[in-house]
Amino acid sequence: MHCELSMITASAQLCLLVCLTLTAGLTLGLGSNQDVEFTFLLPAGSAECFYQTTARNDSMEVEYQVIAGSSLAVGFVLISPSGYQLVSDHRSSEGIHTVEPTEDGDYRLCFDNSFSKLSEKMVFFEVIINSQSGTGGGQEEWADIAMTESMVEYKLDDIRASIDSVHRHLEKSRQVQAVLRAFEARDRYLLEDNLWRVSFWSCLNLFVMLTVAVTQVYMLRRFFDTKRVRT
């Protein structure tokens, strides 16, 4: 009888182990709001493809931006799991596309730099998946692993202090954002001034060059004319 008991316990433990592993695997695999972002180097004359797995009736948002490279442009295609080309951007420097609802399978994102023979491009892209199915992701599991809320052992003062801290940090963030916005505006005006200055001085340059060329030719001809007049 003792052997029977231990055998039952062992099989129950095995079942528990399988259940736990499955749950952990599923919850780790399923993300409610998955956000993948990568910045990579795309060599000249080549194309790179990335694949994203989605479930049915999810929403997928793809955003990309070319950060560096001579013309700051790449070709972009988005192909659905059934092979249908959803998006085709030819030589654009940025783009944002939403696919809703998604099919079940792997979507293919391809960046194409084959039109450029010399310059490699640095491309940033971001894929955001909003899953209709699935639980709240990682945060739902915390009810199990965190300690149970027994009574209200922490005072409201603690919560208030934490919220105050968050509030102060956010205020600081907003102030820094305002400062950065002012700096960006100043830089923008400086660059626009630069543009005006480059244009102006280039025109002046061209004018001076042409004047000098015409003057030279005219004076040379005058030398020969003077000679003829003298003799």
Binding site: L20, T21, G29, I145, E149, V208, V212
Partner: protein
Amino acid sequence: MMLSVPAAGVLLLLAWIHPGDGLYFHIGETEKKCFIEEIPDETMVIGKYRTQLWDKQTSSFLPSTPGLGMHVEIKDPDTKIILSRQYGSDGRFTFTSHTPGEHQICLHSNSTKMALFAGGKLRVHLDIQVGEHTNNYPEIAAKDKLTELQLRVRQLLDQVEQIQKEQNYQRYREERFRMTSESTNQRVLWWSIAQTLILIVTGIWQMKHLKSFFEAKKLV
């Protein structure tokens, strides 16, 4: 209760290296794929990858053999190598930045057996987490014995701290950009003036030289 310890072990391992069914890409035998992460200093980055090999018999991707690994190389903004290690077919690498800037994470397979790749390519599932996403909240909850509300507030505090760090880094980047812009501005101005002056001087010199040349040759 004997099996609970290996169960916990399996769970931990799964959480540790499983990057989820996220983004994947294909990599050739000698191909090197590089990703760039621009991060502020003292920021932790955790990368997880999982590889699959094309199996001709079943015409699908199967988990690759243990012998097939990936070599991970990480360079800091000064192109100094801060991590250069070999990992197995499933791996997890982590590093903390000490200087702000663009860090480069490069992956290439270390396979020497050409036969393994004969079918085509290796499929790599990659997941890179930066900053407060690297925090293991279940572990923090267990260590500090936090309730769920406290854990959520802790997460909020970490997120806000990361936002502030990123903004400080952005301020530093903006200052560098401003210095570059102003120096370009100066350079454009002075080079244009110099170019114009050189052109005028060259023109006058040419005329004088030609005049004296013609006079010497008794043409004028």
